[in-house]
C-alpha cells in the first residue's frame, strides 16, 4: 500500500515506500539504528536536504507563477522573446526581472523591471535535482513500486526533452527559385549584421563575417578587432530598434548609403498574441570607423525588404553590408527542378504545392535527383525535416520558387516517450493498488 494514499476501512499494513516520501526515512527502525551506528556521508546529507518535498511544492508554485507571468508578457512581446527571457535562460542568468505591468496582470502600464524571479530552466533544473535526489536516497527497487518509478522516469524524460529542445532545436526556412540551388537556412526570428567580401578569384565564393544581433542591442557598444581580429573596420552602435518600419525621408542621422534617404521608425515588438504572427524587422544605426580612425560615416541597416544591401570600400576591398535574418549554410545543396502550385479548377483554393528537388551531399556521397516535397509529405534528411511551407512569385504573380520550412529537434520523440512511460507507470501503480484492494476484500 502506498503511504500517501488514504484508504478508509483498510487496516494499516506494514509501512511501504513511495518514490517521494516525507517524515520517517524509508526502511523503518533498522535503518535508523544503522544510521546511528554510522555517521552519514556529507553527500548523503546534502541529498537529503535537496530531496525535501517542501522544495518540490515550492518549485511547483514558482513554476505556476512563472508560466502565468510568461503568458501575460506575450501581450507586449513576441513568443520567442518571452520563451528566451522567462523560460530558456542559461544558468549563467538564472534570474528573470519581471516588469511591474506583468506582475500586476497588465492592469498598469509600467514596463520597469521590478521583481526578480527564478527563470524556467533554473526552476526545472532544481526540480530535476530534487527528484533525482529523492530517488537516490530513498530508492529501493520492488515490483510493487514499479509504477511510481516509471512515472518519475517519464517526468525526468519530459524535463530532459525540454532541455534538449531548448538547446538544439532549429527552425528556419529555405527559399529556392526554380532552376537555382540553395544550401542556406534562414532564421527569421534571429538577425545578424553581415560583412561580406566577394572572392576575387572564385565567383561562387564569399567570405562572411556575421555579428549576431545580441552585440548590437546596447547603444555605444564598440565592436572592433579586440572582439574579432578579422573585422575590416570598427562598428559603434548608435541605436538599435527591435522592430522598425522605414519611411522615405531625408535623414540626418545617417551620412552614407540607404539611410540618407530613409528613416527608421521604431515599432513595438510583434506581440505573442498578434494573430498574424509576423516577424520583427530590426533596424540599427551604426557609426563605422576605419582601424586608422578615419570616419566612414553613419549608416542605417534594416532587415526590412525595402532596405538593400549596401557597400563600402576599405583599402581597395569592397564589402557588402547588411542587417539580415540569420543565415546558416548546410553541407548539402538543394536544386529546385520544378515547382507546381495547383488550385481547384475555377477557384484560387490551393490543391497542391509540390517541390521537385535534386538533393546533393558530396560529403556523404548522396545524390538524389528526384526528391518530392509536398503537403503532408516532408523530406527527412540529416536530422532535419523539410516541409512544404509556401512559395514565391514573379512580378506577374506566377509561382517561381518554393519556401521550405526546416525543423531540427533531436528531442522531438522525448515527450511521446515520456507520456508513454508515465501512462504505463500510472496503469501499473493503480492496477497494483486496485489488485491489493480487491485481494484484501476477498481475504476479509
Amino acid at each position: 500500500m502506498d503511504q500517501t494514499a488514504i484508504q478508509p476501512g483498510v487496516p494499516a499494513a506494514k509501512p511501504m515506500e513511495t518514490g517521494i516520501q516525507t517524515g520517517e526515512p524509508p526502511g523503518g527502525p533498522a535503518t535508523l539504528l544503522e544510521s546511528k551506528r554510522e555517521p552519514k556521508h556529507p553527500a548523503l546529507k546534502a541529498l537529503e536536504v535537496l530531496a525535501d518535498l517542501r522544495i518540490t511544492v515550492t518549485l511547483f508554485a514558482l513554476a505556476l507563477v512563472l508560466v502565468f507571468w510568461g503568458t501575460l508578457a506575450q501581450v507586449d512581446h513576441g513568443i520567442w522573446t518571452v520563451v528566451q527571457k522567462y523560460f530558456r535562460t542559461p544558468l549563467t542568468q538564472p534570474i528573470v526581472w519581471v516588469p511591474l505591468k506583468v506582475v500586476f496582470f497588465n492592469t498598469i502600464d509600467n514596463q520597469v523591471d521590478a521583481i526578480p524571479f527564478p527563470s524556467g530552466w533554473l526552476i526545472g533544473g532544481v526540480m530535476l535535482l530534487n527528484l533525482l535526489a529523492a530517488h537516490a536516497i530513498r530508492f529501493k527497487f520492488a515490483w510493487n513500486r514499479a509504477g511510481i518509478i516509471l512515472i518519475h522516469v517519464g517526468i525526468i524524460i519530459m524535463m530532459l526533452g525540454e532541455v534538449i529542445t531548448g538547446l538544439y532545436q532549429v527552425e528556419g526556412s529555405m527559399v529556392i527559385q526554380v532552376g537555382q540551388d540553395s544550401s542556406l537556412v534562414i532564421h527569421p526570428t534571429q538577425s545578424e549584421f553581415a560583412i561580406v567580401r566577394l572572392d576575387k578569384d572564385d565567383v561562387k565564393k564569399e567570405h562572411v563575417i556575421s555579428i549576431p544581433a545580441r552585440f548590437l542591442k546596447e547603444s555605444d557598444t564598440l565592436i572592433d578587432q579586440s572582439r574579432f581580429p578579422d573585422l575590416p573596420f570598427k562598428i559603434k552602435v548608435i541605436d538599435y530598434m527591435v522592430n522598425a518600419e522605414l519611411k522615405i525621408a531625408v535623414n540626418k542621422h545617417a551620412t552614407r548609403g540607404f539611410g540618407r534617404n530613409h528613416k527608421a521608425i521604431s515599432l513595438p515588438e510583434v506581440s505573442g498574441v498578434d494573430p498574424d504572427q509576423k516577424h520583427d524587422k530590426p533596424a540599427v544605426y551604426v557609426q563605422l570607423t576605419s582601424h586608422k580612425g578615419e570616419d566612414l560615416g553613419k549608416w542605417l541597416f534594416s532587415t526590412h525588404p525595402a532596405c538593400d544591401t549596401q557597400w563600402i570600400t576599405i583599402d581597395g576591398v569592397d564589402y557588402q553590408l547588411a542587417l539580415r535574418f540569420k543565415q546558416v549554410a548546410r553541407e548539402f545543396t538543394m536544386h529546385l527542378n520544378k515547382f507546381e502550385h495547383k488550385v481547384f479548377p475555377g477557384t484560387t483554393t490551393p490543391k497542391d504545392f509540390h517541390s521537385y528537388i535534386h538533393l546533393t551531399d558530396p560529403k556523404n556521397g548522396v545524390d538524389r535527383p528526384n526528391v518530392e516535397i509536398y503537403m503532408n509529405a516532408p523530406l527527412y534528411y540529416n536530422g532535419e525535416t523539410f516541409y512544404q511551407s509556401s512559395w514565391t512569385t514573379d512580378l506577374q504573380g506566377r509561382a517561381n520558387g518554393t519556401v521550405l520550412q526546416v525543423v531540427r529537434n533531436p528531442g522531438w520523440l522525448m515527450p511521446y516517450i515520456s507520456c508513454g512511460v508515465v501512462g504505463i507507470g500510472l496503469l501499473i501503480h493503480f492496477g497494483l493498488t486496485l489488485y491489493r484492494f480487491i485481494d484484501r476484500r476477498i481475504v476479509r
Binding site: 524509508p26 526502511g27 535503518t31 544503522e34 556521508h41 553527500a43 548523503l44 542559461p90 544558468l91 530552466w121 533525482l132 537516490a136 530532459l160 532541455v163 531548448g166 538547446l167 527559385q177 532552376g179 537555382q180 540551388d181 544550401s183 545578424e192 565567383v203 561562387k204 565564393k205 564569399e206 567570405h207 562572411v208 556575421s210 555579428i211 549576431p212 552585440f215 572582439r227 574579432f228 578579422d230 573585422l231 522605414l246 519611411k247 522615405i248 525621408a249 531625408v250 552614407r256 548609403g257 521608425i265 498574424d276 525588404p305 525595402a306 557597400w311 570600400t313 569592397d318 540569420k326 549554410a329 545543396t333 536544386h335 484560387t348 512569385t393 512580378l395 506577374q396 504573380g397 506566377r398
Partner: protein, 351 residues
C-alpha cells in the same frame, strides 16, 4: 545506506548538462559557396526620345553574352523613331529569335525576344519609362545590385561603365557591367496578357477570386462589417462601412501617373494645400503590400469637405501602373476603422 551510485552518475550528468548549456552565438567568419553563381554580364542601351526613355537590355552568363553581342548591338542599331506614330519606336526583329507575346497594356515592356537555347536561353527586352521619372544613377544602382557590384553613390562614379555614341542622329548610352549572380530567365507574358484590364466586370457582377475582381492582380480578405458594393468603371472593388447615417468608402482602383501626382490629388480631395514638389512622397510611410514596396498616407483635414475629410490611402506601384487602396469618409469614422483598413491592405497577396 540505500544509495544508488547509478543515480549519482545521472545526477552529475544532469548537473553538467544544465550548468554548461545554452552557448550563445558568437561573431564568426565563414566561407560560403554558392554553387550556381557565375560571372554575369549586363548590357543596356539607353535612348531618350520625347517623353520617354527606352531601354534595350540583355544579361546572362558572360560567355553567352559575348557570343550574342552582335545580335544585341544590331537590334539597338535597327531602332528607328517616328514621333508621329504610336508607339514611335520600330526595330528589326533579330533573326532566329522568338518574339514574346505583348505584355499587359500600360506596362513598361515594349517587346521581348528570346533565343531557343533552353535551358540557358537568352532574353532581350525593350522597355520604356517616363523621362520625368528617369534617373540614370537610380537605374545604374539597380543594375549594379542585380549583378552584385558595388553601388555608385554619385554620377561621376558611373562613367567607367558608360559609353555614349550617336546612331542615326539618336544619342545612345551604352552600359556594360560585369559582376556575378545566378542566371535566370523570366517567363514570357501570357499570350492574352495584352487584353488584361480591357474588360472590367459589369456593374453588379462580382469578379472572381477572393475579394478581387476578374482583373485584380491581388487576393485579399475584407474585414467583417464592410459591405461590398457594385464596382464602377474606375473602382473595381468597393466596400462601405457605416455608423448611423455616416459611411466611409473603401475602394480599389488603378491608374497611371506619378506617385507624387496621385498623392497630391488626394490631398486636394480633403482640402489640404499641396506640398512642395517631392514632399508628397516623403510624407508617405513605406509598407510592404503583397510583397511590393508601397506607400501609405493618412490625409485628414477637420475643415475639409463634410463627410469626406479624411483619406487613408495605399499606393502600390506595379510597373508604370499604380494600384490604389483608399478609404474616404468622415474624420472620426475613418479613424475608428483605421486598424481594420491596415489589416485589410496587409491581407493583400499577389494572385
Amino acid at each position: 545506506m540505500r544509495f544508488f551510485p547509478a543515480y549519482l552518475v545521472l545526477f552529475a550528468a544532469s548537473l553538467a548538462l544544465l550548468v554548461g548549456c545554452k552557448a550563445e552565438d558568437e561573431i564568426e567568419k565563414n566561407e560560403v559557396t554558392h554553387p550556381d553563381r557565375e560571372a554575369i554580364r549586363l548590357r543596356v542601351a539607353i535612348m531618350k526620345r520625347g517623353d520617354d526613355v527606352w531601354f534595350f537590355k540583355i544579361s546572362g552568363p558572360e560567355a553567352l553574352i559575348e557570343e550574342n553581342k552582335d545580335v544585341f548591338e544590331n537590334l539597338v542599331k535597327s531602332a528607328r523613331f517616328d514621333d508621329k506614330k504610336v508607339p514611335p519606336l520600330s526595330v528589326t526583329d533579330p533573326k532566329d529569335w522568338k518574339k514574346d507575346p505583348a505584355g499587359p497594356p500600360r506596362g513598361e515592356r515594349f517587346a521581348g525576344y528570346r533565343n531557343d537555347a533552353k535551358p540557358r536561353e537568352l532574353e532581350i527586352t525593350i522597355t520604356k519609362f517616363p523621362i520625368e521619372k528617369y534617373d540614370l544613377l537610380v537605374n545604374m544602382n539597380r543594375w549594379q545590385r542585380q549583378v552584385s557590384l558595388p553601388i555608385s553613390e554619385d554620377r561621376d562614379a558611373l562613367e567607367p561603365f558608360l559609353r555614349r555614341e550617336k546612331l542615326e542622329g539618336q544619342e545612345v548610352t551604352w552600359v556594360n557591367l560585369l559582376g556575378r549572380g545566378v542566371y535566370t530567365v523570366t517567363r514570357p507574358p501570357e499570350p492574352m496578357a495584352k487584353n488584361k484590364g480591357k474588360f472590367l466586370p459589369p456593374i453588379g457582377i462580382k469578379g472572381k477570386g477572393g475579394g478581387g475582381g476578374g482583373d485584380i492582380p491581388f487576393k485579399y480578405t475584407a474585414p467583417e462589417g464592410w459591405t461590398k458594393q457594385p464596382p464602377n468603371q474606375i473602382e473595381v472593388d468597393i466596400y462601405h462601412v457605416k455608423e448611423g447615417n455616416k459611411f466611409a468608402k473603401i475602394a480599389l482602383s488603378s491608374a497611371g501617373g506619378s506617385l507624387g501626382e496621385n498623392l497630391k490629388r488626394w490631398r486636394t480631395q480633403v482640402g489640404l494645400p499641396p506640398l512642395p514638389a517631392g514632399q508628397d512622397e516623403a510624407a508617405a510611410d513605406v509598407r510592404m503590400v503583397a510583397g511590393i514596396k508601397s506607400f501609405y498616407v493618412d490625409f485628414a483635414n477637420p475643415r475639409g469637405p463634410e463627410g469626406k475629410n479624411r483619406i487613408l490611402g495605399v499606393v502600390i506601384p506595379m510597373g508604370q501602373q499604380f494600384w490604389f487602396i483608399k478609404m474616404t469618409g468622415p474624420l472620426e469614422l475613418v479613424g475608428q476603422h483605421k486598424n481594420a483598413f491596415e489589416t485589410f491592405f496587409q491581407s493583400f497577396k499577389r494572385n
